[in-house]
Symmetry: C2
């Protein structure tokens, strides 16, 4: 191994609020030895996602909390450097849930492979073809079930998930309105991505009225990435039989106190709304078909997306924090090994 | 008309908290004249339901708020005494959304008829065959979609909706656990109605753990009538892909301040839960089939239910308040005209 050190970021203590270098620390660890059925991966890229913050807490979620002392769970993409699984070979490029470390050992059956005929940059498999893009794709299609002519409202609409979900809804013939936190983001989703309207929720006056103005007939599908006050305003604008794709709740991820659910919870009953908790992990078996369809749209220029690639393992934690302070734009990826 | 006075309870001012006689007042009004397409009904029974409290407020809901000065909206059952609708005749017994008053004028097309071959007491059409029984029936079947062997948890399980929903789930082959607020209610649903277990939520210690004890494999369907802390405890016990039938939220109906939604909202995402806001009004066209199937179960003794019939128009408001103080048991009905 040309690099005999396995650098890691690991969980030293559970953060209260935003994670700091006291909570998530660096160390040099041994390179793991793959067990039978596992492969050893040299990680090239880390995918930085808001959900990782949740796994640092010890509240029950869809993944178990990261144990103290263990490397931070994260989707990574890398090269197989040693294989003890019959379906993986040295040189395969794989991606899956590993950790912020140079080398990961993982069960071969849990990993997805970049197809050999791939003609896109590898990091697309952590963004538009990865869990993020598949969240947009299956979230809007299978949980949102939008019909042509319906109104789709999307929060964090300039984010990696929301921006792609909105473009898919446009391809399906919907009217799409996005919520974002700066005028520049609003311009990007309308002028570059083709959203029908955008609302800067920091600068629009009362949000419930602003949404009503942009969605005068009401909202058929609300694709929610943020929860909190924005969800509450959206709830006041739903049409009967609306669908909420509950895809994330980033507004509460760093809260030290329990965060209340939506105050306008009652509207879910009053409007016969369906709320679907959406986890892309339920759709992993369908990823190849999702990647195939998205590949066509990306190649045709119908789906555009932003990536923000940060170079250097050592910048991982600092980059991660930008997910929560509003400075990040586009799918955030750390490049560990230069291309 | 043998009774020339039309007694009414009307909304004088919107209540803050529990409605009092300052908010909901009595008066004698004129008997309304049915317009073309309407019928005049002499009301025999009023159905008192928690949802009426919501209609007294001016927050948006599935029905418009009751205008100030107008009689309190309520389902009633009565005799057609004059008809200007081709499908209704004098002497028909009809039920529908009218008001707390002796005489109501209503569009004939909005009313449902007690079938001429009926062999049950008339007030059953405000309880087990009425909106309440149909809420149980369509709520558990169409929103809950329970499968044999699944675990169904029901709040307000000794209430009119919950007790019948639980018995239907038993008929379908589910394991059914009920939450109720007294030991007597708990004994009734287990010993008389056949629920598998009951939890007295006032006297069980931490509720999340109590539910876990009664539902060791987790909850597949949560039929919620109450919201609040009980919903939060239920949310911590859901299985993946659980369904929540959001049928009511009585814990918040009298709140003067905005009530937060569930603190454990995140579990809806983490467990890929579907929340279905359920309004029986979406199923009115299916009522005849629901009444037919329920009639068989009631006649066979497979569905049992409690009614609490209060005599006398003048007792309507006081009876209504017992819905919120825990003293009511069974579907609450006011008998305006002696049988």
């Amino acid at each position: 191994m040309e690099n005999a050190i396995n650098r890691q970021f690991y969980l030293h203590q559970r953060p209260a609020g935003m994670p700091s270098t006291s909570d998530v620390r660096r160390r040099d660890a041994a390179i793991p030895r793959p067990r039978d059925g596992e492969v050893l991966i040299r990680n090239r890229y880390f995918s930085l996602d808001p959900a990782i913050r949740g796994w640092m807490s010890d509240t029950p979620s869809y993944l178990p909390p990261i144990p103290l002392g263990q490397a931070i769970t994260s989707t990574t993409l890398g090269d197989v450097v040693q294989s003890r699984h019959p379906d993986c070979r040295e040189g395969d490029v794989v991606y899956g849930l590993n950790a912020w470390e140079d080398f990961s050992a993982a069960p071969g059956s849990y990993l997805m492979k970049v197809p050999p005929e791939n003609r896109f940059p590898l990091h697309y498999y952590l963004s538009v073809f990865g869990a993020v893009g598949m969240t947009s794709y299956f979230g809007i299609l299978e949980a949102g079930k939008p019909r042509p002519g319906e109104t789709v409202l999307i929060s964090a609409a300039a984010g990696a998930v929301g921006s792609v979900a909105g473009q898919i809804a446009k391809i399906l013939g919907c009217r799409v309105v996005g919520l974002a936190g700066t005028d520049a983001k609003c311009r990007w989703i309308t002028d570059d991505l083709g959203f029908d309207a955008a609302i800067n929720y920091r600068d629009c006056g009362p949000l419930t009225e602003a949404i009503a103005g942009a969605c005068p007939e009401g909202v058929d599908v609300y694709f929610d990435n943020v929860g909190g006050a924005i969800l509450d305003a959206a709830l006041m604008n739903l049409k009967d039989h609306a669908r909420i794709v509950f895809c994330g709740a980033i507004s509460g991820y760093n809260a030290a106190e329990p965060v209340p659910g939506p105050y306008n919870w009652w509207q879910i009953l009053a409007r016969s709304v369906t709320v679907q908790g959406f986890l892309v992990s339920n759709h992993v078996a369908q990823f190849p078909q999702g990647v195939a369809r998205m590949s066509e749209w990306v190649a045709a220029g119908r789906i555009r997306f932003q990536e923000q690639i940060v170079d250097g393992f050592e910048n991982t934690l600092a980059a991660f924090l930008t997910l929560f302070d509003g400075t990040n734009t586009g799918k955030l990826i750390v490049r560990v090994v230069p291309d």
